[in-house]
């Protein structure tokens, strides 16, 4: 088993290992095996298509957490120009679980804010696995208000298991930090677009996700509690996570059908981690379109539409 592949990706991994092997043999010898390689490549594509056409909500949850999935910084370098990271909440600390800064999208100045998980062990720990503490949310709030003052649109990127449940986080007011962001974001006088690029874990995700447009990558998830958490409370065991994921409907398609996600951005075949460049290009194009749409609204209309979106109620009748 290759730890960089999920179990349902394993047949694809095996096939690709074989192709790689043949390719190396091909380089060393005169035997023409191009035909064989291209046959296997086609097979790999159709195998991937068939596996990815039958993903369960739990499979998608695991794809959203895939160890090779592109993180915010991977997208920042591909989507934006002139990114300058800005640090700190001006009160306590800088939280590396949230990255923020100014950048340009096709020349237009924007504020970029999002969760950042770490890639290698040391980096994972430094970034606290993408679980922010109150100072992370307060940094995000500071940057959002900064963007508002200078009329820069805000682009947030969600990828977190949730806000960090720790002693210090509670002491410094994790609840208040999240609540304050929700309230302030609801009235910001600048467009806000949020994109779920991986895991949308509960209040810790929403705290940078109150927006005018919500986009989700095809294999991202957004939920009120992790499937494991839900399962351990309602089914009394985390082993029922796949049932909980299905019951809660955590996938991008489900949120789109509920009218909560505006756009589902398709991922490259096999998921964003198979082609980060292509994924970044689709993301960039969608953000561009969103900014153009929102740019046509007056600030008053923008705020009114956001309020209506946030307070909508479906009576079911």
């Amino acid at each position: 088993m290759n730890p960089n592949y999920l179990d349902f990706e394993q047949p694809i991994a095996d096939l690709e290992a074989k192709i790689e092997e043949l390719r190396l043999v091909g380089n060393d010898s005169d035997i023409n095996i191009t035909e064989e390689i291209s046959r296997l490549r086609n097979k790999s594509v159709s195998l991937t298509e068939s596996i990815f056409s039958e993903l369960t909500p739990w499979d998608i949850t695991r794809l959203a957490r895939h160890p090779r999935r592109p993180y915010l910084l991977d997208y920042i370098e591909r989507v934006f120009d002139d990114f300058d990271e800005l640090h700190g909440d001006r009160a306590f600390a800088d939280d590396p679980a949230i990255v923020g800064g100014t950048a340009r999208l096709d020349g237009q100045p924007v504020m970029v804010i999002g969760h950042q998980k770490g890639r290698e062990v040391r980096d994972k720990v430094r970034r606290n696995f993408g679980m922010p503490r109150p100072e992370g949310y307060r940094k995000a709030l500071r940057l959002m208000e900064l963007a508002e003052r200078f009329r820069m649109p805000i682009l947030t990127f969600i990828d977190t298991p949730g806000a960090y449940p720790g002693i210090g986080a509670e002491e410094r007011g994790q609840s208040e930090a999240i609540a304050r962001n929700l309230a302030t974001m609801s009235r910001l006088k600048t467009p806000v677009i949020s994109t779920v690029i991986g895991e949308g874990g509960s209040g810790g995700a929403l705290a940078i996700g109150v927006c005018d447009r919500l986009y989700m990558l095809q294999y991202s998830t957004y939920s009120v509690i992790s499937p494991e958490g839900c399962a351990s409370i309602l089914w009394k065991s985390a082993e029922y996570a796949s049932q909980a994921a299905a019951a809660m409907g955590v996938t991008a398609d489900r949120l789109h059908s509920l009218g909560l996600a505006d756009v589902v951005i398709p991922e490259p075949l096999g998921g964003a981690h198979r082609d980060a460049d292509a994924m970044a290009e689709s993301l960039r194009a969608q953000l561009r379109q969103g900014l153009d749409e929102l740019g046509e609204l007056t600030i008053d209309d923008l705020r009114q539409q956001r309020y209506e979106r946030l307070t909508a109620y479906d009576t079911g009748r």
């Binding site: 806000a163 960090y164 449940p165 720790g166 002693i167 986080a169 509670e170 002491e171 410094r172 007011g173 994790q174 609840s175 208040e176 999240i178 609540a179 304050r180 929700l182 309230a183 302030t184 974001m185 609801s186 009235r187 509960s202 209040g203 929403l206 705290a207 109150v210 957004y222 939920s223 009120v224 509690i225 839900c230 409370i233 309602l234 089914w235 049932q243 909980a244 019951a247 809660m248 409907g249 955590v250 949120l255 509920l258 909560l260 956001r306 309020y307 946030l310 307070t311 109620y313 479906d314 009576t315 079911g316």
Partner: protein, 311 residues
């Protein structure tokens, strides 16, 4: 009467209880903090505050509003809102069944009650969470009712007070319940922009999605004594950090010390304190508070046992 009561009760009371077979069950209640056995009628008179250790026991939403509002001119807001199972959620039981079971047990349609009324003649809108209804969890009806209550406050330009008691967002409404956090926060931000005061009263317990939205957004955050309040539950934190939590962690007193709440107010002083404060915010004359207001029916004895027996 159950066996355990026979064992601990003095003989005289026991025989009395046996003679009167019509004595309703649950005439006694155990204080979750000091473990003392409390006589219900006495407890009622004392606003469900333990006469022995002053612990504030949980009370129902409707009872809460009855205690808080003046008797005259109460008017319920959005009482007609009914929950429905948009996601067709099912775990070991259907959400639909859970709803009807909780409705039957509590007599309420969902976990929030809102009323327009007065407190010591100060007009206001008050709402309260019903913790016995699915742990006071916030789903779409709770969110909508809260916003309608806020809108009444906004239209009539009177303050909003909310007594929260909730485990957080309602899992059975999944992502839809998460969105109620943003919804309630947005409504409160409007009040804030319009200069309408909002007082959040945190009562035992407040966690998760309710704590991380409306409950922490008061112009004043007020807590009842010794209420358990936080973002993540103590068990989750203990599992995450793998160390023992400090004494009194996430209690009201801990929150006061760390600057999360403005004050701790006992249930007996709640009406007077909030009315007095709101009158200052709105520039009204101080409310007339008579001598009996806030007088405990029973003088609390010094707590003799510090034993904490949290459920």
């Amino acid at each position: 009467m159950s066996n355990w009561l026979d064992k601990i009760m003095p003989g005289s009371i026991r025989s009395d209880a046996k003679q009167r077979s019509s004595v309703p069950e649950g005439l006694w209640k155990k204080c979750p903090k000091c473990g003392g056995f409390l006589y219900k009628p006495e407890l009622d008179k004392n606003l469900d505050v333990c006469p022995k250790c002053s612990h504030h026991l949980r009370i129902s939403a409707r009872h809460r509003l009855e205690l808080f509002l003046d008797p005259e001119g109460r008017e319920e807001i959005a009482a007609e809102l009914e929950p429905w199972d948009r996601l067709k959620f099912k775990d070991s039981k259907r959400y639909k069944e859970r709803l009807s079971q909780n409705q039957k047990n509590t007599g309420e349609k969902d976990a929030l009650i809102a009323m327009r009324g007065k407190t010591l003649d100060v007009p206001l809108v008050a709402c309260a969470f019903e913790f016995s209804f699915l742990g006071g969890s916030m789903g779409q009806v709770v969110g909508e009712k809260f916003v309608r209550a806020a809108n009444v406050a906004l239209e009539e330009r009177i303050p909003l007070v909310c007594f929260s008691a909730s485990g957080g967002a309602r899992m059975q409404e999944a992502i839809l319940s998460l969105m109620q956090m943003a919804k309630t926060a947005a409504a409160l931000e409007r009040l804030r922009e319009e200069g309408i005061p909002f007082i959040s009263v945190l009562t035992d317990p407040v966690f998760g999605g309710v704590s991380a939205s409306l409950a922490m957004l008061g112009d004043l955050n007020v807590a009842e004594p010794y209420a358990l309040i936080g973002f993540a539950g103590p068990r989750v934190i203990e599992q995450t950090v793998r160390e023992k939590l400090p004494e009194g962690f996430q209690r009201s007193e801990f929150l006061l010390e760390h600057g999360a709440v403005d004050m701790i107010v006992s249930r007996h002083d709640m009406r007077a304190t909030i009315a007095r404060q709101l009158a200052k915010f709105t520039g009204a004359e101080p409310p007339v508070i008579d001598d009996e207001e806030g007088e405990p029916a029973v003088t609390p004895a010094e707590p003799d046992a510090q034993a904490e027996s949290d459920e």
